[in-house]
C-alpha cells in the first residue's frame, strides 16, 4: 500500500490527526505504567512464605483469668490439639509469616558495635520447623534442651545472668548471606543485646517475616529457642492435610473450648486466609488498575471510532471517485486501516517517550523500579490492536460506498 497519498491527506487534517496521535500517546504511556504497576503488585502477592501454606491452621485464644502456670497450660493445650484426629503436627508460636503482628530485634555482629547491623524478626515457640514445614538446609533443628521460658529469659536479661538465656538460633539463608556473604554461617554468633549472643546452629531455606512490607528484607528471620506460655499473644499452629483443614479447625476449637469454656477465641484461620488478608490492599489496587486500563482503552477506542467515522463521511465523494476509477473495496478498506496504523505508530512512538518520562517521575516520588523494556512492546501491541478494531467499523462503511456516488452532487 502506498502511504504517500495517506500522508498528504492527513496533512490537510493536521489538527484532528494530532489530537488523535496525542490521545494515543497518552493512553500508551498510562497503559505501560499501569500494566507495570499491576505486575509489581502481582509479584509482591507471590512473595514466598517458606511454609507449607495449604496445610496450616492458626488459632489464638485468650483466657479471661490468667492461668496459674502458663507453661503447663500451653503444654496441655498442645497435647489436646495433638490428639485431634488427622492432625499431623502442632506448634506454639509468637507470630506467623504475613501475620502483621511481629516481634523483632536489632542484630549486631559485635556486641560493642554502636549501630545495629540490621533489624530482624524473631520467632519463638516449640516444634516450629516441622510444623511450619520449612526446610533445614544445613545444621540441626532446635532441641528441647535449647529452650528457655520467656519469663526466665526476661529475668535473666535484667540480671545479666547469661546461663538462663537462650544460646542458639536458626536463621534463613537470605539472612546468612546478608550477614556473612559467601561464608559458612554455622557456629557464628549474632548479638541481640550485648549479653545475648546466639550461635547459629541451623540454616533454614526460607521463612518470611510477619511484617514483610519490604520485599528485600522479608527474609530477615531468626528462630530463637524461647518457650511461649499461655498468657502472651501465643498462636497455636496446626499442620494437617489440605482437605482436612475445615474439619480439623472445628474439632480443634471444640477441644480448646472443652478444656476451658470461659476462654475467648481471637483468631481462627487457615494460612491461605493469612496470606489473603496480608495482601488484600495489593489485590484491590491491582483490580482497580485493571479497571482503569479497560476504561481508558474504551475511551480511546471511542475517540478513534468518532474521528474515523467523520473522515469517512467527509470523504464519501472522494471514495466514490476512487471506486469509479477502479479501486476495489479491499483497497478502500486497507486505506483506512493503514491510515489508522500510521497515526497509531506515531502516537505509540511518542507514548514510549512519555511512558519513560512518567516512570522517571514515579521512580523519583514513589521508589518504584525502572520500567523494564518488556512493557513497551506490550503497550504498543495493545494500542495497535485497539486502533485496528476501532477503525474496522468505519473502514467497512467506507468500503461499502458505491462508485455511483461519484456521479452525484453532495
Amino acid at each position: 500500500m502506498d502511504i504517500l497519498p495517506i500522508l498528504s491527506t492527513l496533512r490537510r487534517h493536521k489538527l484532528t490527526s494530532w489530537l488523535l496521535i496525542l490521545e494515543i500517546a497518552l493512553t500508551c504511556a498510562i497503559v505501560c505504567n499501569a500494566v507495570f504497576l499491576i505486575g509489581q503488585r502481582l509479584q509482591r502477592m507471590d512473595m514466598p512464605s517458606g511454609v507449607a501454606e495449604h496445610e496450616l491452621l492458626q488459632i489464638q485464644v485468650a483466657d479471661v483469668t490468667a492461668p496459674s502456670n502458663p507453661y503447663a497450660r500451653l503444654a496441655e493445650d498442645v497435647a489436646l490439639l495433638r490428639q485431634v484426629p488427622r492432625v499431623i503436627s502442632v506448634a506454639s508460636s509468637n507470630q506467623v509469616p504475613f501475620g502483621s503482628s511481629s516481634s523483632n530485634g536489632n542484630i549486631r555482629l559485635d556486641p560493642a558495635q554502636p549501630e545495629r547491623t540490621l533489624f530482624a524478626t524473631t520467632y519463638f515457640g516449640e516444634n516450629l520447623v516441622p510444623t511450619l514445614g520449612t526446610r533445614l538446609v544445613s545444621g540441626r533443628d532446635l532441641q528441647p534442651d535449647d529452650f528457655v521460658d520467656v519469663e526466665t529469659a526476661l529475668k535473666a536479661l535484667g540480671t545479666g545472668e547469661s546461663k538462663s538465656l537462650p544460646h542458639v538460633t536458626l536463621i534463613t539463608q537470605t539472612l546468612a548471606e546478608r550477614l556473612w556473604p559467601g561464608q559458612n554461617p554455622l557456629g557464628r554468633i549474632i548479638y541481640l543485646t550485648p549479653v545475648v549472643g546466639l550461635r547459629v546452629v541451623g540454616v533454614l531455606d526460607s521463612l518470611a517475616r510477619p511484617n514483610a512490607y519490604d520485599t528485600a528484607k522479608a527474609q530477615y528471620t531468626m528462630v530463637v529457642p524461647i518457650r511461649m506460655g499461655a498468657n502472651k499473644d501465643q498462636s497455636y499452629l496446626i499442620r494437617t492435610r489440605p482437605e482436612d483443614r475445615a474439619s480439623v479447625l472445628t474439632a480443634a476449637l471444640a477441644a480448646l473450648k472443652k478444656a476451658d469454656p470461659q476462654r475467648v477465641v481471637t483468631t481462627k484461620r487457615s494460612f491461605d486466609e493469612v496470606r489473603r488478608k496480608f495482601f488484600q490492599d495489593d489485590r484491590a489496587m491491582a483490580g482497580m488498575l485493571v479497571g482503569v486500563i479497560v476504561a481508558l482503552l474504551i475511551v480511546t477506542a471511542l475517540g478513534i471510532v468518532g474521528l474515523a467515522s467523520f473522515w469517512v463521511a467527509q470523504r464519501r465523494r472522494t471514495i466514490g471517485v476512487r471506486r469509479a476509477l477502479g479501486a476495489t473495496r479491499g483497497n478502500i478498506l486497507h486505506y483506512f486501516q493503514t491510515e489508522n496504523f500510521l497515526l497509531a505508530t506515531i502516537g505509540i512512538a511518542l507514548g514510549m517517550v512519555l511512558a519513560y518520562g512518567i516512570n522517571l517521575f514515579l521512580m523519583l516520588h514513589y521508589e518504584l523500579p525502572r520500567l523494564p523494556a518488556v512493557y513497551f512492546p506490550i503497550g504498543a501491541v495493545v494500542l495497535w490492536l485497539i486502533g485496528q478494531v476501532a477503525v474496522l467499523g468505519p473502514a467497512l462503511r467506507a468500503a461499502a460506498v458505491p462508485p455511483v456516488v461519484a456521479t452525484r452532487s453532495v
Binding site: L15, T16, L19, L20, L22, E23, L26, T27, A29, I30, N33, A34, A62, D63, V64, T65, A66, S101, E115, L154, K155, L157, G158, G160, T193, V195, N231, K232, D233, Q262, R263, V264, T266, R276, K277, Q280, D281, A284, M285, G287, M288, L289, G291, V292, A295, L296, I298, V299, T300, L302, G303, G306, L307, S309, F310, A313, Q314, L362, Y366, V410
Partner: protein
C-alpha cells in the same frame, strides 16, 4: 439569545445521535474514573477532625541512647506522665490501646475481645467526642485510679443487648468497672491518635482511665506496639522500663501557645539531659507536629492512592483530548450550516457561543453519567477487602466537584473546536452548496 443557542445545540445533538452518545460516554467514563480515584484520595488524605485538628499537637522527645534519623514515634512512661502532670497545654492526654477480654459483669454473659483505650480525662473534650448518655471521668478520677469506663454505642449493644448499660458494671479481665458514659460510635479516619493500629481500622470500644490500667497491670491489654531501647526485665510493669509505647497529645488553642509549648518542650528535654535521663550528646531534639504533619510524617496516606490520583488525572486528560477531537469533528461537519448562519448575519462571537453551549450540554450529560459511574466505582471499592473500603462514599464537596470538573473540561474541550468553527470562511463553503 441563550435559549436559541440551547435550541440549536439540542437540535444538532439530536441530528447525530451516535456521535453525541460517543461523546457523552467518553466524557462520562473519564469523569467517573477520575472522580472514583479522587474520592478515595480525598477520603484517605482527609482531616480526621475537621476544624479541630489545627489545635492538636503530638509532642516528641528522644530518650533513646542512639539518635535515629526520625524522632521516636511513642513516649516512655516517665516522659508521658511528666508532660501530662506539667499541664502546660490547654488540654493533654496520654493514650494506649489494645484488646482486652471483656464481658458484662452479670453472671452468664459471654466474654468477648474488645478494643480498649487506656487514656486520661482530657481525651474526650480534646477530641470532641460526643456522649449519648452519661459523662466522661474527671481529672480527679484519673488520680484516684477510679474503676470507671466509657463505652461506645456498639460495645454497649454487644455487651448489654441494647439496654444502654449506663451505671452497670463490665468486667475487664478479673476487675469490675462501672460504666459512667456511652459515646456515639466514633471513628476518626485515619485513626490519627494511635497509628500503631490499622490506620483505617475500626474505632475504640471501651475507654478506661490510664493510671487505673497501670495499677491493674495484669489487665492484659495486648496488641500495642512496644519498642524497647535497653535491657528489659518485665513487659508487664513498664513504668520504669526503657520502652516506648505511649501516645501523648496536647491541645494548644493559639499559635502563640504552640510556640510557648515548643519552648517548654525544649527546656524539658534539656532538664532531662542535665538529670542524666537523656544520654544523647548535643542539644536534645524535640518536635511538635500538628495532626496533619504527624499523618504526613508517618506516610499514613497509602502511596498507591496518590499514584492512583495521578492515573486519574492522566485519564481526565485523555478524555479532554477525546472530547476536543469529537467536538471538532461535530462542528466541522456542520460547516455549511454555520456558513449559512454567518452569511445571514450571525457574528463570529455568536457562532462561538453557540458552539460552547453545545459543548457544555455534552459536558453536563457526561457529568451525570460520570456521577453514576463514580457511584458504581465506589460501590465496587466498598466491596474490595481493603481496610478503608467501607468509607468510600461520595460526599457533598466531591459531588459538587464532579459537576465543576465536567463544566471546566467541556468548556476547555470546546474552546478549540468553537474557535475553528467561527473562523470558517462562509463564501468558500457556500460555493460548494
Amino acid at each position: 439569545m441563550f435559549a436559541y443557542y440551547l435550541d440549536l445545540a439540542l437540535r444538532s445533538l439530536k441530528q447525530n445521535r451516535v456521535l453525541t452518545a460517543l461523546m457523552v460516554l467518553a466524557m462520562g467514563l473519564g469523569i467517573g474514573a477520575s472522580m472514583t480515584t479522587l474520592t478515595v484520595f480525598h477520603l484517605l488524605s482527609g482531616d480526621p477532625l475537621p476544624g479541630r485538628s489545627g489545635q492538636l499537637f503530638y509532642p516528641q522527645v528522644d530518650p533513646t541512647p542512639t539518635a535515629a534519623p526520625a524522632l521516636p514515634g511513642n513516649m516512655n512512661y516517665i516522659d508521658a506522665v511528666n508532660l501530662w502532670q506539667a499541664r502546660r497545654a490547654d488540654r493533654q492526654a496520654i493514650m494506649v490501646g489494645g484488646n482486652v477480654k471483656t464481658k458484662a459483669a452479670q453472671a452468664g454473659s459471654r466474654p468477648m475481645s474488645l478494643h480498649t483505650l487506656a487514656t486520661t480525662a482530657d481525651f474526650f473534650p480534646m477530641f470532641g467526642v460526643r456522649f449519648t448518655q452519661g459523662n466522661a471521668w474527671t481529672a480527679a478520677d484519673d488520680l484516684a485510679k477510679a474503676r470507671v469506663a466509657v463505652i461506645s454505642r456498639s460495645a454497649s449493644d454487644r455487651l448489654f443487648h441494647g439496654e444502654g448499660g449506663l451505671g452497670q458494671s463490665i468486667r475487664l479481665g478479673q476487675w469490675n468497672f462501672r460504666v459512667i458514659g456511652v459515646i456515639d460510635d466514633w471513628r476518626p479516619t485515619p485513626h490519627f491518635y494511635e497509628l500503631d493500629r490499622e490506620s483505617y481500622g475500626d474505632g475504640d470500644e471501651v475507654f478506661i482511665p490510664f493510671l487505673t490500667s497501670r495499677d491493674l497491670a495484669e489487665l492484659g491489654i495486648t496488641g500495642y506496639s512496644l519498642n524497647c531501647y535497653g535491657n528489659t526485665m518485665d513487659d508487664l510493669h513498664l513504668e520504669n522500663q526503657p520502652c516506648l509505647w505511649l501516645n501523648f497529645w496536647v491541645e494548644l488553642d493559639s499559635p502563640a501557645k504552640a510556640q510557648a509549648y515548643r519552648q517548654f518542650l525544649d527546656n524539658y528535654a534539656r532538664e532531662q539531659q542535665a538529670l542524666g535521663r537523656y544520654v544523647q550528646a548535643g542539644s536534645p531534639r524535640t518536635a511538635l507536629p500538628s495532626v496533619m504533619q504527624w499523618l504526613d510524617q508517618n506516610g499514613v496516606v497509602p502511596s498507591d492512592v496518590s499514584l492512583k490520583s495521578w492515573i486519574a488525572l492522566g485519564f481526565l486528560l485523555v478524555c479532554l483530548m477525546n472530547t476536543t477531537g469529537l467536538l471538532l469533528v461535530k462542528f466541522l461537519r456542520r460547516t455549511t450550516e454555520i456558513s449559512v448562519r454567518r452569511a445571514l448575519g450571525a457574528s463570529r462571537q455568536q457562532i462561538f457561543l453557540q458552539c460552547l453551549v453545545e459543548a457544555v450540554i455534552v459536558g453536563m450529560a457526561g457529568g451525570v453519567l460520570g456521577l453514576l459511574l463514580a457511584l458504581a466505582g465506589l460501590w465496587g471499592i466498598r466491596h474490595t477487602p481493603a481496610d478503608y473500603a467501607d468509607l468510600a462514599h461520595l460526599d457533598l464537596p466531591m459531588f459538587a466537584a464532579t459537576f465543576a470538573i465536567s463544566l471546566v473540561v467541556s468548556l476547555v474541550a470546546g474552546l478549540l473546536p468553537a474557535w475553528r468553527a467561527c473562523h470558517i470562511a462562509p463564501a468558500l463553503q457556500l460555493k460548494v452548496i
